[in-house]
């Protein structure tokens, strides 16, 4: 009986090794096949992955830091509540520790968030270089302030020092809001401007091609009317974009979430105009 079982086991072991040899043989042609498939898109898409990879890594870090912050925030709230109820030195010490921890994890989270904003802003097309550079500088300043705040928190050991750090963070808030919402406005505006530029370029190319290829004068006249309508829609979009850009670059010190939401609402009209133009284009190029 044992002999039979051992023979079966040996046979199955042999079978296990056999496909390994087969895979080793079949593994060689696959590397040859893959570059052939990916060779064409690689050169055009080569600069993009680095920023994308950077952004993916930042997002992963952000998720981890957000989870840490949530835990620290809960502990801080419990410790603070206990201190306010008990009013003992032991509970004060616990509350101080928890507060410091929550402040540090909040600072880390915000720092990563601003780095993500910065990378996205660098990636975004359709924003003039001076505005982009100026905003990147502002983000860098905010990141610097957050790092400074973190150092202050690490040094704060008693209740008075923690209160001082809390007050200094409150003074930082307008700068944080400005950096956040102006950057978000610029990113959304830049995306819309970039889409407008692309739509205009494709429309012009297709109009030129139509002039060269279409020989039927009736069809040509009809298609030209279509392109004229697209041109009118796009010029409206262009005007809307200019108005939004003026609003974003107003000489203001403070931007809030409401300002950003107003810009998003205005950009919806822009996107509506752009999608109408693309839809018209689809009709015009129908054979």
């Amino acid at each position: 009986m044992i002999k039979r079982i051992s023979v079966i086991t040996a046979l199955s072991l042999f079978c296990l090794l056999l496909p390994g040899v087969a895979f080793a043989q079949s593994a060689t042609p696959t590397p040859k096949a893959t570059p052939a498939v990916t060779s064409s898109p690689q050169p055009s898409a080569s600069p993009a992955p680095s920023l994308k990879e950077q952004m993916a890594a930042l997002r992963q870090t952000y998720r981890g830091q957000l989870a840490t912050y949530r835990t620290d925030e809960k502990q801080y709230q419990i410790a603070k509540e206990q201190y306010l109820q008990l009013q003992t030195l032991a509970s004060l010490e616990e509350a101080l520790k928890a507060t410091r921890k929550a402040m540090i994890s909040r600072s880390d989270l915000l720092e990563t968030y601003f780095t993500m904003l910065k990378v996205t802003l660098i990636e975004t097309k359709g924003i003039d270089l001076a505005t982009k550079t100026s905003q990147i500088e502002k983000i860098d300043n905010t990141i610097g302030e957050l790092k400074q705040h973190r150092l202050q928190v690490e040094k704060a050991l008693d209740r008075t020092q923690i209160l001082a750090v809390q007050a200094s963070f409150s003074k930082l808030l307008p700068q944080i809001e400005e950096s956040t919402y102006k950057t978000l406005m610029l990113i959304t505006y830049g995306n819309a401007q970039s889409m407008y530029d692309k739509t205009l370029a494709v429309t012009r190319e297709l109009a030129d091609e139509m002039d060269k290829t279409e020989k039927n004068p009736l069809v040509l006249a009809e298609k030209r009317r279509g392109f004229e309508e697209i041109g009118r829609t796009l010029s409206q979009v262009d005007q809307q974009l200019k108005d939004i850009n003026t609003r974003i670059n107003e000489d203001r010190d403070h931007y809030t979430e409401n300002d950003f939401n107003a810009v998003v609402d205005s950009l919806e009209e822009v996107f509506s105009g752009l999608s109408r133009s693309v839809s018209y284009l689809g009709e015009v190029i129908k054979p």
Partner: protein
């Protein structure tokens, strides 16, 4: 009490043996039976199957190996099938579109992706007033 005495006496008479004799015979029977058992065991040992746990372990190993072999034979085929299924339907819709239509389709897709409401960078949900002030008294 009287009834018990009447019942015990006939039993003793029927057996014809008193309890002291019976007790003395017990070790003799045991002595006789003891040497037979090892003999029977010695005869049965070579015919017996191996311990069950060894059989179970070997069977389990055999079954796992067989499963692994089956899995290894099946797994390399699946990505090939996936590649084939992915590759085969894609060319047909692309082939239907002209170059101009393809450009407009790409533009439409980019436009959908650039929707400002899809921007995934909301401000982190953090407490702004972290500190040890008693807000309940303020």
């Amino acid at each position: 009490m009287i009834e018990k005495q009447t019942t015990l006496e006939p039993v003793a008479e029927e057996v014809g043996v008193d309890q002291t004799v019976f007790a003395s015979q017990e070790p003799i029977y045991q002595d006789v039976a003891m040497p037979e058992l090892p003999g029977e065991k010695k005869m049965a040992e070579p015919k017996k199957t191996p311990p069950r746990f060894i059989v179970i372990v070997l069977c389990a190993v055999g079954a796992i190996m067989t499963l692994l072999v089956l899995l290894l034979l099946l797994v390399p085929r699946s990505p090939m099938n996936i590649l084939k299924t992915q590759a085969s339907p894609s060319p047909s819709p692309q082939a239907e579109l002209t170059e101009q239509q393809q450009r407009v389709k790409e533009l439409s897709d980019e436009l959908k992706a650039a929707d400002p409401k899809k921007l995934d960078l909301p401000f982190p949900p953090v407490l702004i007033n972290i500190g040890l002030n008693d807000e309940r008294n303020q």
